[in-house]
């Protein structure tokens, strides 16, 4: 599903590469934790998959395509196959839960009847049934993140990327979000999650990829957070 071949990324203003000769492969339906200290290159890796950045050297394959060869106008097609969730939720404060989720479908030109059918389903899936008309400001952090997950998943992407989705949440709420991501993973969606949360990684016992100063230092099938140190 995702493959990196000898990928190096150097940002123009920095001498040290953010990613240095990283190769890895993530299969369809996998659940992968991306761990490492701040500045280890986790976010850069995610941005490369989304083609927010281009690799300085090496190739990134997503869904079988070398995304460096993707012409600019085809990048939106790529991003429709990838759902994204962030630490800061990134919801639109002036739109309700329903509108926030529907937004993802509207701006990709889906027909109205499809939106009317799919959005309530996804809101139900993330456990927010009955709160469709609330605004993000009226929701708890955990609920807001569920809206963000609903928005990321409403397009039925084959990959879900989560950049520290529990970073702003307390442990109990985090467990709820993890259960949700796990459920989404069980529908066959590949999930790549960058995190600092040792408890979650240890509990889930999924594949762990650890980065350190841009190098891949560990790739473990059923890993825990702190194994390498």
């Amino acid at each position: 599903m995702i493959r990196l071949d000898d990928v190096t990324k150097v940002y123009p203003s920095q001498a040290r590469p953010a990613l240095d000769d990283v190769s890895l492969e993530i299969d369809k339906g996998e659940f992968v934790f991306l761990v490492g200290a701040s500045g280890s290159g986790k976010s850069t890796l995610l941005r490369l998959i989304l083609r927010e950045e281009r690799a300085t050297a090496g190739t990134v394959f997503v869904a079988g395509k070398d995304i460096a060869r993707l012409s600019n106008w085809k990048v939106p097609q790529l991003r429709r196959q990838i759902g994204t969730v962030f630490q800061d939720f990134r919801l639109l404060p002036n739109k309700t839960v329903h509108e926030n989720v529907a937004f993802a479908l509207e701006v990709t030109g889906r027909p109205g009847h499809l939106i009317a059918k799919v959005v309530p389903e996804v809101i139900e899936l993330v456990g927010l049934a009955g709160k469709e008309d609330r605004y993000p400001g009226e929701l708890s952090g955990g609920e807001q993140q569920r809206v963000a997950v609903a928005r990321a998943f409403v397009n039925r992407p084959s990959i879900l990327i989560a950049d520290e989705p529990t970073g702003n949440l307390d442990p109990t709420t985090s467990v709820g979000i993890m259960k949700l991501l796990d459920r989404i993973n069980r529908t066959g969606t590949t999930v790549v999650m960058a995190t600092h949360d040792a408890d979650i990684v240890d509990q889930m016992r999924r594949r762990v990829i650890e980065l350190e100063h841009g190098h891949l230092v560990r790739d473990q099938a059923r890993g825990v957070y702190g194994y390498a140190r």
């Binding site: 196959q81 990134r90 639109l92 701006v107 928005r151």
Partner: protein, 305 residues
């Protein structure tokens, strides 16, 4: 793509950014109105040139007794033979279409008519008047110099009068207005471009949250950019409309109400509504193209897609 959504995004952007948009619209309309004014002046010049230069005649004023002190008339009044000779030459020239002869008596009568109410007419006798030939030309613009030079310095011709020098003054003044309007239009256009850049930049900044989400969920580039382009186009369109309104008002007040009433010029020498309409469509097109292109270039720089 759902047009209503894009349109409502654009409308929201315009409302949020109202002050800047109004400023942009006003400056655009000034720039376009001046551009249109320059164009209308140019057409007015063309119109006048076609009308007046088509009527330009070669006027040959002939020597009188009292002209003997002029270098062109050393022998005093023109002789009968000389006049017949000149008339024959005029008739033989292929460039000349018609020849009129105005005798002293004709000139006197015309003068009396023109200055009927003035004391001047009472103190003038037919002998004081100057007889003249007027030759109309087939191609006044090309043939004037040929014909005029053929009679310059000919015995019995006091002077050849070039009517064009009179028109040239008018045209020079109008040309001056045209250049001035173009100059100010250029400055206003630069201000327009800068203002559109700011409007689009502010709009892109104030909607960065929406656009970043659009990008992430895979909205097409056009879909992300379209509301901004519409905002720019709207400013250009309204600015163009205002400019057109100004041009029409100017044509009505200045030409129809002021000049045409006070000048003794003929109908044909003024531009009509067809010219205003043409200039309007030109100005609208320029306004739309400039605002859309500038918006697009601004987006390339300030909106990541």
């Amino acid at each position: 793509m759902r047009i209503s959504l894009v349109a409502s995004e654009a409308a929201t952007g315009l409302r949020r950014n109202l002050t800047m948009t109004v400023a942009a619209v006003l400056v655009i309309s000034i720039a376009l109105a001046l551009l249109g004014t320059a164009n209308l002046i140019r057409q007015q010049i063309n119109e006048m040139q076609r009308f007046w230069l088509g009527k330009v005649e070669v006027s040959l004023y002939l020597c009188r007794d009292i002209d003997s002190d002029r270098p062109t008339c050393p022998d005093g009044a023109i002789t009968e033979a000389q006049r017949i000779d000149i008339q024959q030459s005029l008739n033989e020239l292929p460039q000349v279409s018609e020849v009129f002869y105005e005798s002293k008596q004709d000139a006197f009568e015309r003068f009396q008519e023109q200055f009927a109410d003035s004391e001047l007419a009472d103190n003038i006798s037919p002998d004081d008047m100057q007889e003249s030939f007027r030759a109309t030309l087939n191609n006044p613009e090309e043939d004037y110099d040929v014909v005029a030079s053929a009679f310059e310095g000919r015995p019995g011709v006091e002077q050849v009068v070039d009517m064009r020098s009179f028109f040239d003054t008018i045209f020079n003044v109008l040309n001056g207005f045209q250049v001035g309007a173009l100059g100010v239009a250029a400055v206003a256009l630069i201000a327009t471009v800068l203002l559109i850049v700011v409007v689009i930049r502010v709009a892109a900044f104030s909607r960065r949250r929406e656009t970043s989400i659009m990008r992430l969920v895979g909205a097409s580039n056009l879909y992300i950019q379209l509301p901004f382009l519409l905002e720019g186009a709207f400013a250009g369109f309204v600015g163009g409309l205002l400019a057109c309104f100004g041009l029409a008002l100017g044509k009505y007040l200045l030409i129809d109400q002021l000049f045409r009433e006070s000048f003794v010029f003929n109908e044909a020498s003024w531009i009509g509504w067809d010219h205003v309409l043409m200039t309007c469509s030109m100005v609208m097109a320029i306004g739309l193209i400039v605002s859309i292109v500038v918006s697009y270039l601004t987006l390339l720089k300030y909106l990541r897609v």
